[in-house]
């Protein structure tokens, strides 16, 4: 990584000018309907200046800050997967031609996105989705094209949210790699600036177009301090020790019944999760039957159709649906992809209408199981 630089707040808009000049559509945090969501930004004026979020199980509230921070909040309901693997996309069309039909593929050039304000947990989520979509025999080519074209501008977290636990799963709060640029926002009494780290040559080219100064040691130290502050203030924690075996060995734990009493199987946790990748396919014909389309739609393991096989749904109860989700996310994901599927972003806790908290669920199962046996079997593995 090259030398860090400092970008003054008043020169931040230069970043938008450079990105737009290079043909990027800038996507980043902005206020919408009572939350900070990711959407297209035209300038720094679209950023949620002076706003923060308060989060807890089932609760998200915007609050005014006493300062003019641009990135003084954590993550909202939507994730970058929305832009890389859209929730609804047409895969192809078909046209009837006599007794045959002709396939019309989707040939739209991929959008060129610059993601601004990507947090460390989210950078880890991108890496997890890369593994899911780009490795193995069947690649998600539409994701691949969008991902290759995308520029990642990270923002280091200097505060933690009420449902954050990235420290527990080693995904933050400092983004170490996986970005083209990473900003740390620093507000002092009479100064507002960003310490900028460069992760790639592409990032360095963007820096070239900005009005920056080499960062002083004190400025870099200040940035580090603030990130450490976030690390010490996580709203939640998750003990991941032996969690794979803990969940796999407790399929019949009474806690699953308890959580099923509360769970709505509404699927919100999976829809907001930055790593959940499931989709369904719908084939539609029009009224004439001359034209058909195949659509891919974001799906969830909390629907009956998801596990429908001939004769019925394999996981018809809420108990089995929740157990499947949590066990996959924290345990069998490791078997499948050699890493956990959880990035500690806390979205599933915040956006659950009935405040189900996976850190609490794991703890409840752990407390009433024999931890020794779990740790033991983890070592044997």
């Amino acid at each position: 990584m090259s030398e860090q630089v400092v970008l003054e707040r008043n020169d931040l808009n230069g970043l938008f000018t450079v990105l737009q000049g290079q043909g990027y559509t800038v996507i980043g945090p902005t206020l919408q309907d009572g939350a900070i969501v990711y959407d297209e930004l035209t300038s720094d004026k679209d950023l949620p200046e002076g706003w923060t979020d308060e989060q807890d199980g089932g609760i998200y509230r915007l609050k005014k800050r006493s300062d003019k921070a641009l990135f003084g909040y954590v993550v909202g309901p939507y994730t970058w997967k929305r832009f890389l693997d859209p929730p609804e996309k047409r895969l192809w069309q078909a046209k009837r031609e006599g007794n045959d039909f002709r396939i019309i593929p989707e040939n739209e050039p991929p959008p060129k996105y610059a993601f601004l304000g990507v947090r460390s947990c989210e950078i880890h989520a991108l890496a997890i989705q890369d593994r899911v979509f780009l490795e193995g025999d069947y690649r998600n080519t539409s994701y691949e094209k969008r991902r290759e074209a995308a520029l990642i501008i990270g923002v280091q977290c200097v505060q933690a949210g009420g449902t954050c636990f990235c420290v527990s799963v080693n995904t933050g709060p400092r983004a170490e790699s996986g970005f083209d640029l990473a900003l740390t926002e620093i507000l002092e009494e009479d100064r507002h600036y960003f310490v900028v780290e460069t992760g790639t040559d592409q990032g360095a080219k963007i820096i070239d177009g900005l009005k920056v100064q080499p960062a002083k040691e004190t400025e870099v130290a200040e940035a580090d301090n603030r990130i450490s502050h976030a690390a010490k203030n996580m709203g939640r924690k998750l003990n991941t020790e032996g969690v794979r075996d803990l969940l796999v060995q407790n399929h019949d734990h009474a806690r699953w019944d308890e959580v099923a009493n509360r769970c709505l199987s509404c699927a919100n946790c999976t829809m907001v999760c930055p790593t959940c990748f499931c989709s369904t396919v719908e084939d539609v014909t029009d009224i004439t039957g001359e034209h058909a389309e195949r659509w891919q739609k974001q799906d969830s393991c909390f629907t009956m159709d998801f596990s429908y096989l001939h004769g019925g749904s394999v996981r018809a109860s809420t108990r089995s649906q929740y157990r499947q989700w949590l066990t996959h996310k924290l345990a069998t994901w490791i078997d499948q992809f050699d890493e956990s599927g959880c990035t500690g972003c806390g979205r599933c806790i915040t956006w659950c209408p009935v405040a189900i908290d996976l850190t609490e669920e794991v703890e409840a199962i752990r407390k009433s199981s024999s931890l020794e046996s779990v740790v033991q079997s983890d070592k044997e593995r």
Binding site: D33, A35, Y60, P77, Y78, W351
Partner: protein, 259 residues
Amino acid sequence: MTKIDKPKLAVWKFASCDGCQLSLLDCEDELLSVAEEIEIAHFPEATRQVLKGPYDLSLVEGSITTPQDAKRIQEVRRVSKTLITIGACATAGGIQALRNFQDVKEFVSIVYANPAYIDTLNQSTPIAEHVAVDFELRGCPINKTQLLEVISAFLAKRKPNTPAHSTCIECKRRGTVCVMVAGGTPCLGPITHAGCGAICPSYQRGCYGCFGPMENPNTSSMSEGWKKSGASDDEIKRVFRTFNAWADSFREESEKHDK
């Protein structure tokens, strides 16, 4: 397909407001294509011309509320190869099923000058309680895009794409911020059948449950949450007693709060 082969469509009205069958006329641009593919054989709201049955596809709107209608639906079933019910009245008894929780004779004696002329059943019931139904399309009113999908699916002999999962999935797909989590607005979305496209939350309103219960609704957990935030039993009861009050899970939940 030659003209003679065109499947015959019939639209039948029982106790209802007509809004659902109007959705077919509302199809406007697509209506001409519909008319080209199927023969509209019985649709009094659209045309006086009535062709004799049997009919390949019957769309049935409304609930059964009178002894005459209870007989008539049997006749409709007899002349229909495929029978699809459309809308909350036909699939759940509709708003008029609120009578099911009360004494109808008492209403009749208060409302009508001459109650002797009124011949009505004690309950408003969905069509499926009377005859075999091939497919139920939910909504109050139904979504016209879904209606076209159902007709297209019928013509192509395929299963219609009308998922029974929660409305939350539609909200999240379209990118609406959750009104419940971010605004504290009570919302029936998590227990409501998808299909409308999550209209109300996109206007910052809670879902009213027009499409009825989703596939596995956890109504008691929803009620618990509202109770914790200060809702009374009466308020909770009213939330479940609207257009789909007689749908099993909504009915059972409302009865728990009927004190």
